[in-house]
Amino acid sequence: MPSEPFGAPVPQESGTPWAPVPYRVSERTQETADTATIELEPLEGTRRPDFLPGQFNMLYAPNIGEAAISIAGSPSDLRRWVHTVRSAGKTTDALAQVRVGDVLGVRGPYGKGWPLHEAEGKDLLLVVGGLGLPPLRPVLYEVLSHRDRFRRVEIAYGARTPKDLVYYEEIQRWRGRDDLRFQVTVDRAGTEWYGDVGIVTQRIPDMRFEGSSTVAFLCGPEIMMKGTARALQERGVLTSRIYVSMERNMKCGIGQCGHCQFGPYLLCRDGPVLPYASVERFLALREF
């Protein structure tokens, strides 16, 4: 018989970050040709964990793999996760094509959210490109349920074509409100489109805000966020009040796989939302 090891190991808590929790797909909406919004309800229990607008989950498609996907639902709807997924690879293809009743795994929520409290008492701008809207949708829900905490709320959303707009119906409702302004622009359109055409940064001169007292959240392709930030700076928005959501191909969500390194940051841990000031110089570098 072997004797006891010196100071036998102390058993750890059984909790592991490496176990996706099963959820059932309760609803699926086709947003565009390649993008769908899926709603997930817990298989066990009745509610999901809390999350902050801007955080993401690792969604697991059994037999396929995992992908980091922003949370796009309302923080106060505790019964479900809502995610909008665009087919852009092995895992997102599968996630975008799930059917109601399918079971997926969820790990999360992970990352840091938008600093909404900083915008309280100020003008709030959301400038969004493409699939940057889903991670900002929870912000809109929060803002609308506490509308009195903010001054002007202005949203500019740019997409590729009218067919690539997500949340179409909901956007119509938002556009109908008098307590926020929601502008939409597309890169190109056909004759059926009577909205704006161009790029989203063009909308900035037209947005109503007081530069010195404005907080801006940007989410979209890096080149779009760069251009937007510059345009906002021109209108007097303090660089320290511009926030961006960065994207890299996250594999773990918990700062241990290294894929989401961006300069000093591990985006899954320190981001994805970061002050623009802290990433500005890296966005200027090639292949960083």
Partner: protein, 155 residues
Amino acid sequence: MKEDRRELARELRTHPFLQGLDPGFLDAIEGATQEREFETGDPVVREGEPAGELILVLQGKIGLELVAPDRPRLSLLTVGPGEIVGWSWLLPPRIWQVDGRALKATRVLTIEGNALRKVLEDRPKDAYQFMLRLVPVISRRLHIARIQVMDIHAV
């Protein structure tokens, strides 16, 4: 009528594109200025037709569209209040390169091109200031076109 002219003169002088230019220069072009209105869907300019004027948008929205017989119309830019349409009047062959269509009820000022060019030729210093306003518009639209070509939302 007098009242209208005065209003037009005010609008000309306060349009962001011209605001702050030399008053003498603005006086000089005022005579070549007209106001026009379009209903939703009305053509504003047509590709291939003589480009006779500079258009300053006051209200509404004009879509600049590319047309080719074998493909659907493609809208690449919308121009709204405070912006301008067209520099084709400036350089030969003075032909519109795009279709412009009113996307909502739209009111514009037009400055007749021949007269405008004449004023610019006579007042080189003011012309320089005018060009300092026009070139950035061209440059910005070129930049927008480049970003559109990149198709940044495609990946």
